[in-house]
């Protein structure tokens, strides 16, 4: 549990309830398909690929960072998500929404909505300044949905911290299943496509 100022003595870790619910739901499916939009970490790939039938990895942190640096038109950012409609049982967005401006965030959510199966889940994290004062943190997952924080080493997407109501508004097409705030300051949101 987080008990002091952010420092190099981290990473701390905690057990993610929302992530556990996602994994419990998708592990039961014989053909479960999970999209991870987060940075490529071996721990995450090892963990998720052992739990789901098909793991899709599309590192939007790195791809969008590259698109921005090269001046790519924002309207074409989501070409990376060239997946069919209604194909994912769950999507891991991590804190990606907080790394996008409002128009980008709304358009990402719209794309996620079309890619998610009816009944499918989307999980979202927000760290806030308490957890990540300079916005250079990302998550890795190990056994039993233990989430650890580490430096976001391969992307320079800036962070903008949002209030809960803003997050919920952006995710409006989805139904909120669960929202949690931990003592360490991490907030987790679990959404479902109806």
């Amino acid at each position: 549990m987080w008990e002091g100022p952010h420092s190099e003595t981290l990473p701390f870790n905690y057990a993610s309830i929302a992530l556990k619910q996602v994994m419990t739901s998708i592990e039961r499916l014989p053909g479960g398909q999970l999209l991870d939009t987060g940075p490529v970490y071996k721990d995450n790939i090892n963990y998720f690929s052992s739990k789901v039938r098909r793991l899709y990895v599309c590192d939007l942190y790195r791809l969008l960072d590259k698109d921005r640096r090269t001046g790519f038109p924002p309207g074409r950012y989501w070409r990376h998500l060239d997946y069919p409609d209604n194909c994912f049982d769950a999507i891991l967005l991590w804190d990606l929404i907080d790394r996008l401006n409002d128009p980008e965030a709304y358009s990402l959510v719209k794309r996620c909505y079309t890619m998610t199966k009816p009944g499918g889940l989307v999980i979202l994290f927000t760290f806030g300044k308490q957890v990540s004062p300079v916005g250079r943190d990302s998550c890795i997952v190990r056994d039993d949905c233990q989430v650890f924080f580490r430096d976001l080493a391969f992307s320079n997407l800036p962070i903008q911290y949002r209030q809960n109501r803003d997050i919920l508004h952006i995710l409006t097409p989805f139904v909120t299943v669960k929202s949690l705030i931990y003592r360490n300051g991490v907030r987790e949101f679990l959404f479902q496509k109806t």
Binding site: P39, S50, L55, R62, H80, C87, K117, P118, F154
Partner: protein, 174 residues
């Protein structure tokens, strides 16, 4: 250039390694006796287009387009390698650029220098942090072994659909 490394057992093993490929280079590919420990290197300034089959390990430092079928051997895409291919091998190591699908009997290793786009079916996978990856990963599970193996389709690259865009399996109802 295309290099052939032989070991002392070569002369004792007169088996033949068929190589079917168009070599865009001065030197033709050497075809010779093989053993499990040998490897063929496609050098940095070599381009190969077509189907590669054989019974030894392959290292690609140049360009390759087509398909590679080395079911019981290892394929390595080196840091300078640029490959667009379907790969069917025992183990695959990617340190360069690869667009295509991999079916490995054993392990797929992706190093942090890699740039991979495609689908991986393997028993095990190892990915270094920071690898450039857009992939579909499907690990073989114990229950999979009971199923009849599907024949690997060595479709040459150049199709309209990218591997990742074509790959997701649509909903069959929950």
């Amino acid at each position: 250039m295309l290099k052939k490394r032989r070991n002392d057992k070569d002369d004792l093993k007169p088996s033949f390694s068929p190589v079917s490929a168009e070599i865009a280079a001065v030197s033709p590919p050497p075809v010779s006796a093989v053993s499990g420990q040998e490897k063929t290197v496609i050098g940095q300034h070599i381009s190969v287009e077509g189907v590669v089959r054989g019974k030894e390990n392959l290292v690609i430092e140049g360009s390759m387009k087509g398909s590679i079928e080395l079911e019981k051997h290892q394929v390595t895409v080196g840091p300078n390698g640029k490959v667009e291919a379907e790969i069917h091998a025992d183990n695959v190591i990617i340190s360069g650029r690869l667009v295509g699908n991999i079916k490995a009997q054993g392990k797929v290793e992706i190093t942090k220098e890699a740039d991979f786009c495609g689908e991986i079916k393997a028993q095990r996978i190892s990915v270094e942090d920071g690898a450039y990856l857009k992939a579909v990963i499907e690990l073989e599970r114990p229950s999979d072994k009971k199923e009849m193996p599907k024949p690997f389709s060595p479709t040459a690259s150049g199709t309209d659909k990218s591997p990742t865009s074509a790959s997701p399996e649509l909903s069959k109802g929950k």
